[in-house]
């Protein structure tokens, strides 16, 4: 990367802004910050950033609204920040088009990892698929519909493959229950999380080294799932 990626921070808390500016600058990012939703949207229009970090509680408007307005014209990756116990808000923001979320307080490593994933996705462009996705011992050949584990073919049912395909195509990003149900089962209004539990369980038994401690398909409690391609076993 020749040019430093630009990050737009939208948060009204000066302490957070101060800390994040310092830390992100030290990690080779350019930082712009806005303290209200409106200001943030205006700045995103004036100079489109590479990633937007958005706090869900803003003085002038709901963070979910900000996501909605940004998504009307832009695909810039958005990472939302929110406090614990507001799963409903997080899910709403994700369903409106946010790419990822972090719960305050968060470790800085987590934030950097999320930013890196977001940048990678924005470089690739949404929808352009890699033909082969790897995660640990698992290799998914999207074109040939073949899944191997340690080079041995894993037999999946149609729905299992559809589910895995959707998760892997959005690797390292959180996918809400509703998004998965809509994409895989075509259930746009209903709340059949039980389908997911069953099929995710089946996939884990077929793919994970230890299905009890999954490393590839991670649960995001109360939100959804994340397909993890990073090798770290933490």
């Amino acid at each position: 990367m020749s040019k430093k990626p630009l990050i737009l921070l939208i948060d009204d808390e000066p302490q957070i802004l101060r800390a994040l500016k310092t830390i992100l600058a030290a990690n080779d990012f350019q930082i712009e910050s806005a303290t209200t939703g409106e200001m943030g949207i205006a700045m995103a229009v004036a100079q489109p950033p590479d990633v937007i970090i958005l706090d869900l509680t803003l003085p002038d408007m709901d963070g979910i609204q900000v996501v909605q307005q940004l998504r009307e014209w832009s695909r810039i990756p958005i990472i939302v920040l929110s406090v614990r116990d507001s799963e409903r808000d997080k899910v709403a923001a994700l369903d409106k088009g946010a790419d990822d979320y972090l719960t305050k307080p968060f470790g800085i490593e987590e934030l950097l990892a999320r930013i890196r994933v977001a940048l990678r996705h924005s470089e690739q462009g949404i929808g352009s698929r890699e033909p082969i996705i790897k995660a640990g011992p698992i290799k998914i050949d999207m074109a040939r519909h073949v899944v191997t584990r340690n080079d041995e073919e894993v037999r999946l049912t149609v729905i299992e493959f559809k589910l895995l395909e959707y998760l892997a195509a959005h690797a390292d990003r959180v996918l809400t229950h509703q998004a998965i149900l809509t994409q895989v089962w075509g259930l746009s209004e209903s709340d059949h999380v039980e389908y997911l539990r069953v099929y995710i369980g089946q996939l884990r038994r077929k793919l994970e080294q230890n299905p009890d401690e999954p490393q590839i398909i991670l649960t995001e409690p109360g939100i959804g799932y994340r397909f993890n391609t990073s090798d770290s076993s933490s």
């Binding site: 037999r155 049912t157 149609v158 999380v193 039980e194 539990r197 069953v198």
Partner: protein, 498 residues
């Protein structure tokens, strides 16, 4: 205090013991005397005059008994004339010659009048006693029903029902105007479409302090004195019952406020201490690192930084617990129930707690193929972290902590057993109360909220939580229902492999 005045005194079903209306009763009385004369006519030659006099007393008695005092008197007068006309010489005139006959006639009149009066009064007294008894019975029924009722809506329903029954109304509507979240009314006999019209009778339910509500009655006939008296007694009783409910409610409210006040006080005490200790550690570490007077070895630096991070997590958990408690307290805890995998919750909680668990041996006994369970994942995970954190605090180092799960009928039963000292029986229930700590407050940190949060969460899920001293150790138990609104999860079928 009746709302509207009652106009006439027509008798209602119970009071209507006379079979005929006024005029008919009197005609019947006269008729009975005429009938007596007609029956006696063929026997006249064989009967002595004294016997005839006595026989004429019979229709008078009968009239009084059946139709009341005035028909009885009228019968007496009629008998007087008929007797005079037919049986006293000269016959078929009202003239009397002999003094004896005159005396007989006068005595007959006096006797019949006194008799009908006496019988009439006795009859009235019986009737009155009966109606009093009936009133008393109805009152008793109402009061007895009210005693067992503790909610205003039930009282309103009961009042409407009993008023409808007692007074034979077309419809009764009871409106409760207490300062309830929403006012409501109970309607007895709502099929009658007349509650849209203006009621025929309105009774205000007024207690000593305020208006508790009103009864609206639709009935074509007007109320008799007795009925309006009874209705008034009804309204007084209902007002009292409603007042009792209102007072009980405000008492509960006051108690709740008092409790929450106590809660706040103990919260402040406990929290200010609990928040300060991690803050002190963070402050000390950060200021040491910044002071610049000491050249820190990298291992020491690492140690200080680790302290800061741990204490921050601790503070975060503390704030989370406080928030959760206030949500449970205010009833704002909203469950987001989904069909979750229980294994996953248990595993994820134990992974989260792995740092705290490093000095204990954790054992998990989960049966294979546990069904999905309707839970709020995040909250149940918190129950586990709180129970594990509690076990770690009290159980000696290097002892096992065992989590056992099994299904039991419609419930999933979870046990968390540790080797902490037994808890005296009298404390077993109270350890789930807020800020309840048995002993060694100095040795153990915490807000005293963990277990009460568990209780709040489990009960919100429709389960139960309790603790028990068992031979194998101190055990927390909790149950969670396996069904959601009585149903099991609907799992799509897909058996065909590629």
């Amino acid at each position: 205090m009746a709302g509207r005045q009652v106009r006439t005194t027509k008798e209602r079903p119970f009071f209507k013991t006379q079979p005929f209306p006024f005029l008919l009763r009197h005609l019947a009385a006269v008729g009975s005397v005429v009938l007596t004369r007609w029956i006696l006519d063929p026997f006249q030659p064989y009967l002595k005059i004294q016997l005839i006099v006595l026989l004429f007393l019979l229709p008078i008695i009968a009239s009084t008994v059946w139709w009341g005092m005035t028909p009885g008197i009228l019968a007496g007068v009629a008998a007087f004339f008929i007797f005079n006309y037919f049986y006293i010489p000269p016959y078929r005139t009202l003239t009397v010659y002999s003094t004896t006959d005159l005396i007989t006639l006068v005595i007959f009149l006096i006797v019949s009048l006194i008799m009908s009066q006496l019988i009439g009064r006795a009859r009235e007294a019986v009737k009155l006693a009966q109606s009093r008894e009936w009133e008393a019975t109805r009152m008793y029924e109402l009061i007895a029903a009210f005693v067992s009722l503790e909610e205003a809506d039930k009282i309103a329903q009961e009042l409407a029902r009993q008023t409808l029954d007692t007074f034979g109304c077309q419809a009764v509507k009871v409106t409760v105007s207490q300062d309830l979240p929403e006012s409501f009314s109970a309607v007895a006999n709502p099929e009658e479409d007349i509650t849209e019209q203006t009621p025929d009778q309105v009774m205000i339910l007024r207690s000593a302090r305020e208006q508790e509500g009103e009864i609206q009655i639709w009935r074509k006939e007007n109320f008799s004195d007795k009925e309006s008296r009874l209705l008034e007694a009804y309204s007084v009783q209902a007002a009292l019952a409603l007042e009792k409910v209102r007072l009980a409610r405000s008492e509960r409210k006051a108690k709740l406020l008092e409790e929450s006040d106590q809660l706040k006080t103990s919260l402040l005490n406990s929290v200010s201490h609990e928040l300060r200790s991690p803050l002190a550690a963070i402050k000390a570490s950060v200021s040491s690192l910044r002071s610049g007077t000491v050249d820190w070895k990298s291992s020491d630096r690492e140690e200080l930084l680790a302290t800061i991070e741990e204490e921050t997590d601790h503070l975060n958990a503390l704030v989370g617990n406080l928030l959760q408690m206030s949500r449970i307290e205010s009833g704002a805890l909203k469950l987001q129930k989904h069909w979750d995998s229980y294994e996953e919750i248990v595993k994820s909680a134990t992974v989260k707690m792995s740092k705290q668990l490093q000095n204990h041996q954790l054992m998990i006994n989960l049966p294979k193929n546990l069904p999905l369970i309707p839970t709020d994942y995040v909250l149940i995970e918190q129950v586990f972290t709180n129970l594990i954190s509690n076990s770690v605090k009290y159980a000696p180092v290097d002892t096992p902590i065992v989590i056992t799960v099994f299904t039991e009928g419609e419930f999933l039963h979870t046990q968390v057993t540790n080797q902490s000292p037994a808890v005296a029986e009298e404390h077993l229930e109270r350890i789930f109360d807020k800020f309840y700590r048995i002993t060694f407050a100095d040795r153990v940190t915490g807000t005293g909220l963990g277990l009460s949060i568990c209780k709040g969460i489990i009960e919100a899920h429709g389960g139960k939580i309790w603790a028990e001293n068992r031979p194998e150790g101190f055990t927390f138990h909790f149950t969670l229902p396996l069904t959601l609104d009585g149903a099991l999860p609907a799992i799509p079928e897909e058996t065909v492999n590629e």
